[in-house]
């Protein structure tokens, strides 16, 4: 149990939240990560600032170039909003997060700042080349997701800053979306490895490919060599088989309690072939 004496304050608006955070408060939104860490005693912040209901962080709004998702929007809200229909890859990945309760509590902002190599919203955000929009005492700024995430639990967030929203630019065309995570238990698995992809095809061949791998390196990675090598290939697992070693060499897995580095590399390779197969099987 975390201490009942733990101070939590609920600011009226974003400006007050930023002041409290500059004064040493730690933000909490859904609490699905932070409260677990407090319980385990790995963190002991001075006090918490509850940002989960701030209207500025609860926006979900379509703009001309894309979708703005407020940091405190929950996974469940994203899954049920018609606004995410244009981003099927986001839905495929979010659907695999925890349990319905975790989806109803956890937020996209919390998932991003957590910067876990296994963070399931991160794979689609890397694929969609999302921008993280920050606000802080010095104003607002924006970073591509791949520059925002620096390592496990490490981000480019400066002291006093909050993630305000995540921006998803619309894609050209409708690429085939793929997401699969391999783990040990269906609901609450933090993945052993995951692969997400967006594949544009033309005349039975790959026209363009974006791939993102989770849990096989300190951050989610885009294996650019494989993406490039896929261009022009027929949609047939046999024609992709020689890329498995290339994909494996792009990974930098760690061994931990959940899986060995070698196993993670193998899983990543078979996911690539599974992607080819599911692309071939589609209507």
């Amino acid at each position: 149990m975390w201490k009942s004496s733990l101070r939590i304050v609920k600011p009226r608006d974003l400006a007050e939240a930023l002041e409290l955070i500059s004064a040493g408060g730690k933000p909490v939104a859904g609490g699905t990560d932070l409260f677990v860490r407090l319980r385990k005693g790995v963190e002991s912040p001075q006090f918490l600032v509850y940002i989960g209901e701030l209207s500025e962080l609860r926006v979900l709004e379509e703009k001309e170039e894309g979708l703005v998702i407020g940091a405190a929007v929950t996974h469940a809200e994203l899954l049920s909003s018609p606004l995410t229909e244009k981003f099927p890859i986001l839905r495929l990945a979010l659907r695999t997060i925890g349990s319905p309760a975790i989806q109803a509590m956890g937020t996209i902002g919390g998932n991003v700042v957590n910067a876990s190599p296994a963070g399931d919203s991160l794979v689609p955000l890397y694929l969609l080349e999302a921008k993280v929009q920050l606000c802080g005492p010095e104003g607002e700024r924006e970073l591509p997701i791949s520059d925002f995430i620096l390592g496990p639990g490490k981000t480019a967030l400066r002291p006093g800053e909050l993630v305000r929203s995540v921006f998803l630019p619309f894609l050209d065309g409708s690429p085939y979306p793929y997401f699969r995570k391999v783990g040990r238990r269906r609901a609450l698995v933090i993945a052993v490895a995951s692969l997400g992809a967006l594949i544009w095809t033309e005349g039975g061949r790959v026209k363009k490919a974006r791939l993102a791998l989770g849990s096989v390196a300190p951050t989610v990675i885009r294996p650019k060599e494989v993406e490039e090598a896929l261009v022009g290939r027929p949609i047939d697992p046999e024609a992709w088989r020689d890329l498995v070693p290339l994909l494996s060499s792009a990974t930098k897995p760690i061994s931990d309690l959940r899986a060995s580095a070698d196993y993670r590399r193998k899983v990543a390779g078979s996911l690539l072939l599974d992607l080819a197969q599911s692309l071939q099987n589609r209507r």
């Binding site: 939590i8 309760a101 109803a104 609901a187």
Partner: protein, 154 residues
Amino acid sequence: MLLRFRLNGRPVEVDVPPGRRLLDLLREDLGLTGTKEGCGEGECGACTVLVDGKPRLSCLTAAIQVEGKEVLTIEGLAKDGKLHPLQKAFIETAGVQCGFCTPGFIMAAYALLLVNPKPTRQEVREWLSGNLCRCTGYEQIVEAVLRAAEELSR
């Protein structure tokens, strides 16, 4: 802080530290011991309650997060001395053995039926995947939810 929210349909006002866990607020301060603590870390679902109609783990919720909201616990399901169809179905199918996990399962199932009144067997299984039971082997629980869904939609 003076915390105001609605609990099982009635307004409540309690003086509580804002960082108190909802689970402790319910069990210790308000005497509603139906909600259980299994793991305390979000992994077992025993502490599931509904907040504004959505499932929430009370072990990972601070009191301040339910300010002004509607909280529903297992104690709020029976009406006029009659069990809720979910409660009845759990008893009939032997979905309850030691019973420790039952309130969490019933609240999670209740949340499912709010958004999907006629779930398939597979949908029930998937939805309940965040709830653990050491006794029943789950099949009776899934059966109970399907039965209750049928009764409720009659």
